[in-house]
Structures are given as C-alpha cells and as structure tokens.
C-alpha cells in the first residue's frame, strides 16, 4: 500500500531518458543501475524521516544526476525537523554504503561492482553536500542562517553564497556532459531569485494566518523582517501588534 502510494508520486524527468539512452549506447548498464539505486536510497531517507514528522509529500522527481523530494507544506516548518529531514538522505546513503561494504567483505559482491558503488556513492554524497541551490547543502545552509538572521536576509544570503559556489563549480568542472546539470542548476537559481517577493509574502501571510506554538518572542519594526520559529511582534510607533493580528 505504502509502496504503491509512493510509486504514484514518483516522477521521472524527461532528461533522464536521454541519459538512459546514452548509457545504453555506451554500455554503462551496471553504472546507471547503481547510480539510480543510490539516488533512490537517498530519497527514501528523506521521505522516511519526513513521514515521521507528517509532512505532506508532493512528489519525488528523478533527475539525470539525482533525485529531489518536493513537499507541499508550510514554509515555517520546525527548523530541527527540517534539518533532520535534510541530513537523513546522506545519512541513509552512508548506511547503505556500510551495508555494501559489509557485503563486499563477506564476498557477496565482487571487486569491480564494489568499486562502481564506492565511486558513485562518494561522488553523489560530496555533490549533495555542496551549497548549490536545490541540493541538500544549500538547505542545511539556509537552516543555519535562519537560526541567526531573519527569513529575508537568510534567503538572500543563501542565494548569494550559492551563486558564488555555482560559479566556482562551473569554472572548476567544465565538461560538455555537465551542460545539462549546469543548465538545471542555473534554472533553479534564477527561479529562486524570481520568486523572492512571492515567497516572502507567502511567509508573512502564513505567519499571520496560523497560530504557532513557538515560545521565543522577537520584536521587529517591519513585517518583512519576520523570523522563522519565533513569535514576531511588530512595533509601530509605540503600538505593539502580534503577528496573528496583522491583517485584522
């Protein structure tokens, strides 16, 4: 039942088929299967932990070089929960690799397959830790920035850091095969810049509509500077307004 429901949410990006076709022509059968096994284990990690916190899963998309689980939920989620969900992907991947290591040491797996697993495990892991926009690294960075700064500033800071890293990434790793990857990363980054106004307004609206249980208070002067995981109180000429009474 659960597997069937998850399979309904699985979506294969059209560019993945191009990669599948190329790997068929070049005979990389094992490699492509192993890459997608690792990617799916990674996504299962995210989905498993997010199910514990009862997040609404929208879909899981398989891209040519990795997966992404997309949630249809509030922006102001608990930062600890979000952190756990974010790191659970790499964590599951590491646990899976430990299993592969165990199988190899007990002679269930031959050396050549083990090398392929090792190679793609580490490359996918390190790639995900990089602070590039849709990847786990950028999400972790955003969570830590949200602990310190308000939502708007941390949003901007994440984008700036990710843009710098994308530039460094392109300069260091340029290769025609990465063209697809780099286009995707650029597209996501531009989208994030475009949606800035919309997302910040959504955040303010969400804050005013839903009552939160957060115990920390924060006094601010402009409603655009709201903090995540805190009760914001807006001070306007000696009048204090709670975030829930903004539009009433």
């Amino acid at each position: 039942m659960i597997i069937k429901r998850l399979l309904n949410k699985l979506e294969i990006n059209k560019y993945s088929y191009i990669l599948l076709f190329i790997s068929l022509l070049t005979g990389l059968f094992k490699e492509i299967v192993i890459v997608y096994i690792i990617v799916i284990i990674h996504e299962i990690g995210h989905v498993f932990v997010s199910k514990i916190f009862r997040w609404k899963l929208k879909k899981i998309v398989l891209y040519p070089f990795g997966g992404m689980s997309i949630y249809d939920d509030l922006i102001d989620k608990d930062l600890k929960e979000e952190f756990l969900v974010t790191i659970s992907g790499p964590l599951f991947q590491i646990l899976f690799f430990l299993l592969i290591n165990y199988l190899y040491k007990n002679y269930y797996l031959n050396y050549n397959d083990y090398i392929i697993f090792k190679n793609y495990h580490y490359s996918i892991l390190i790639f995900n830790i990089l602070p590039l926009i849709p990847l786990d690294g950028s999400k972790t960075l955003n969570i830590f920035l949200n602990k310190i700064f308000n939502f708007r500033i941390s949003y901007d800071l994440t984008n700036i850091i990710c843009t710098i890293f994308l530039l460094l990434f392109v300069i260091n790793n340029f290769n025609y095969s990465y063209l697809l990857l780099i286009t995707f990363l650029l597209y996501e980054l531009i989208n994030i810049y475009k949606n800035k106004k919309y997302i910040i307004n959504k955040f303010i609206l969400e804050k005013s509509l839903y009552r939160s249980n957060y115990k920390k208070y924060k006094t601010i002067f402009d409603k655009k500077n709201m903090y995540r995981n805190k009760k914001n109180i807006i001070k306007n000429k000696d009048i204090f307004i709670s975030e829930n009474h903004l539009f009433r």
Partner: protein
C-alpha cells in the same frame, strides 16, 4: 469492455499479414543474406561509442572516476612461446598465470566455447578479443575493463587468443608481436 474486440482482431490480422509477407520475402536469397548480415551479425559497439563520447564530450555520468582507483595489478601480457591455433594464437605462459586485458573494453561474453572457459572483450578499437582457457574468472558480464586489468587465472599453462573484427578473424601477428 476495456478491450475492443474489433481492434484486437485487426491487430492480429496486421501481424499475420506482416509475418506472411516477411516469410515470402526471405525466400529471396539476396534479401536473406542482407538481413542475416545486418541484423543477426552486428551489434552495438559499446566500447567504441564510449571511447568516442569520452573523447569529444567527456564523461557520460557526472563525476565519473571521481575516486582514483589504486592500481593493484598492472603488467602487460607475458609469454614464453606462441604457436598457431585454430585461426588464433596459443600462448605458453607460466602456470596459473593471471591474465591481463590487452586493451580497455567491455566484457560482452562469459561462458564456454569449444569446451573452454571463455571471455570476450569488445575493445574500443572495435576489435573483439576472445580469451580462452580460464580456470578462474575475475570479471562479470558488462564490466568495463581497463588496460592491463586482471581478467582471470589461466588453466594449466596455455592461453588461447583470437581477434575478430566485424565477425572476421584478424591476423594475430598485427597485435601480438
């Protein structure tokens, strides 16, 4: 009804027409030879495709060869004597010699041929090398092997090699000097 009976009958009829017309066509010797040559006797040249792709476009999957593999086994093929054998060459090697691959390529066949354990490696220069007479095989099907990577352990002390290009044997003297 989910399945339309009419459509199913039409499909069956189309298949019948195709089958019968094809079986008439194949009676003609020229067409038979053409189909046999182009359909049953050629395959996709994986190793060559990969070599060309890597040369002009780079790695197929992102972050290929991210981790530098430590080379445990790296030596060229060594033998003491050679003699003709059945369109190929018979090399006399040391007892239980570990056979390295002559050139990089993809393993396309593992099994028995002429009663001997056989590995066929399709190389990036589109030559198929047939290695025969193994007691132990270290690679599995569709593994990419690098230059001088270990393939397996030879039985007794003779290794049989045959080189083929597009199904035709190539003179071994061009390759084994």
């Amino acid at each position: 009804m989910i399945y339309n009976l009419k459509i199913i009958i039409i499909k069956i009829l189309i298949v019948l027409v195709l089958f019968i017309s094809f079986s008439f066509l194949i009676k003609n010797e020229d067409i038979y030879n053409y189909i046999y040559k182009n359909v049953f006797d050629t395959n996709i040249k994986f190793a060559k495709n990969k070599y060309l792709y890597n040369k002009y476009l780079g790695n197929v999957l992102a972050f290929d060869n991210y981790i530098k593999e430590e080379k445990v086994f790296n030596e060229t093929l060594e033998y003491t004597a050679k003699s003709n054998y059945n369109k190929g060459v018979k090399l006399t090697v040391k007892n239980n010699y570990l056979v390295p691959a002559i050139k990089e390529g993809i393993v396309v066949f593992i099994g028995k041929k002429d009663g001997l354990n056989t590995i066929i490696v399709e190389q990036s220069d589109s030559i198929d090398t047939v290695y025969q007479n193994f007691s132990n095989i270290n690679v599995s099907l569709y593994d990419y092997v690098k230059d001088n990577q270990i393939l397996g352990e030879v039985k007794n002390n003779s290794l049989y090699l045959t080189f083929k290009k597009d199904g035709v044997e190539v003179d071994y003297k061009k390759i084994i000097k």
